[in-house]
Amino acid sequence: MKTSLLKKVWRPSLAILLFIGLWEVATRLFSIEEWLLPSPSDIVMEARNVIPTFLPHLGSTVTLSVSGFLIGTTVGLGVATILHLMPRVRETFFPFIIISQNMPIIVLAPLLVIWFGFNALPKLIIITLACFFPIAVSALGGFTQTNRELVHYMKMMGANKSQLFWKLELPHAVPSIFSGLKIAGTYSVMAAVVSEWLGAQKGIGVFMTLAASSYRTSRVFVAIIVAMVISLAFYGLILLLEKFFIRWQQKGENV
């Protein structure tokens, strides 16, 4: 188990190390200005200085993304369930849901600020919008792909609509829902950072815009890397939950 993990990890790790090395060498060799492209060592140094003042920003972004993610998940699952149980409603509204995804949420941001002001609400709406779609689509896909034979069995046994949903369709969709959750999890951190650009007291987004406007490029990189780490941590957490929830699954089988 441990050795196989090591086997999987060493190639990408080596690639990253090589990349960082090249970066370091290139910035020194061509003496690139720090405000244009800081070297990895510049970034590490900056990180050491700035991390203490950075922590409150981090906490605020994490709280924002987690709440947005939870709201988005609830809304996404709710919408998928309604669309699934009411085929008429699905036929009417599904096209709009698809269209809504072709609108970059960023363009909505100024409007949301006009409507709701500079508080948490427009930010939460943006994150919710970003998370909702992958979850709704994956859940809906999971519901409709329910094994025909199992459905037939349930109907023969006299299961009603609600038993069919709770005992069969919902659990059957769990693996599919998790693939949506993983995407939504990463989106939520990105959306939180972007929404903070709109204006906030705290947050990685705020820290980033401040740093960028004073050309402290190393600081911008620190913020980017931290956002990535949070994103990854999120992903890892969802992966753990997935392992727990679909522990019944046959190893190597992707249903």
Partner: protein, 241 residues
């Protein structure tokens, strides 16, 4: 117990079942044999209430159940166990749908059926034959008194199949449930049933009903007896006629 009166069913222009009337008595084991596509599974869907007949009625214990759900328990060709449920949870599903769960009874029944070691395993850990056993116990544990079995052993290999037939009889003979059983195998029908209903095709009508005289409990030797072969020949004659 179960009674079909002049049941007919068409899909579009195509008539599948014509005037089927049959009877299953309480505690009786009845097999349905007939060519592929003759409408055996359609007949099950009608009894289960998934489809409505074009004409005719279906009665269970004197009560009309035409177009009604939930009066029978069912075992399909594929075990159709729920992969996220353990064996015991799967076996309890039929009871769960009707309201009341009896965990102890389920446990005892699995033990008795030789599945005691896998009570808490997941279906993917079991072989095909074991899964069918679980599916049968699930059907047997459901509170309904009539079980419909649609080619339950046809996906199994020959060796497992004969074992399964003997196993099924040994378990079932202790219970009151009636069984209506679809199969393509004459041997299987003869070995298991009290009565065999032979269907024709396009549209399906009842060609003949044969009362099987072998006494219970039956064992594997029966399959090789002279008498068994004579009955088999008789059925083949009916089918070919």
């Amino acid at each position: 117990m179960l009674e079909l009166r002049h049941v007919s069913k068409s899909f579009g222009q195509k008539q599948v079942l014509q005037e089927i009337s049959l009877h299953v008595a309480s505690g009786e084991f009845v097999s349905l044999i007939g060519p592929s596509g003759s409408g055996k599974s359609t007949l099950f869907n009608l009894i289960g209430g998934l489809l409505g007949p074009d004409a005719g009625e279906i009665y269970l214990n004197g009560e009309e159940i035409t177009n009604k759900h939930g009066f029978i328990s069912y075992m399909p060709q594929q075990a159709s166990l729920f992969p996220w449920r353990t064996i015991i949870e799967n076996v309890l599903l039929g009871q769960e749908l009707q309201g009341k769960k009896d965990y102890e009874l389920a446990e005892a029944m699995l033990e008795r059926a030789g599945l005691g070691d896998v009570i808490h395993a997941y279906p993917h850990e079991l072989s095909g034959g074991m899964k069918q056993r679980v599916a049968f116990i699930r059907a047997l544990l459901s509170p309904q008194s009539l079980m419909l079995l649609d080619e339950p052993f046809s996906a199994l290999d020959e060796f497992t199949r004969t074992d399964m037939q003997k196993w099924l009889l040994s378990i079932w003979e202790d219970y009151e449930q009636s069984i209506l059983f679809i199969t393509h195998s004459i041997d299987e029908a003869l070995f298991l049933s009290d009565k065999i209903i032979i269907l024709s095709v396009n549209p399906a009508e009842i060609k003949d009903v044969i009362e099987v005289p072998f006494i219970r409990p039956r064992d594997g030797d029966l399959l090789l007896s002279e008498e068994f072969l004579q009955w088999k020949k008789k059925i083949i004659d009916v089918i070919q006629f």
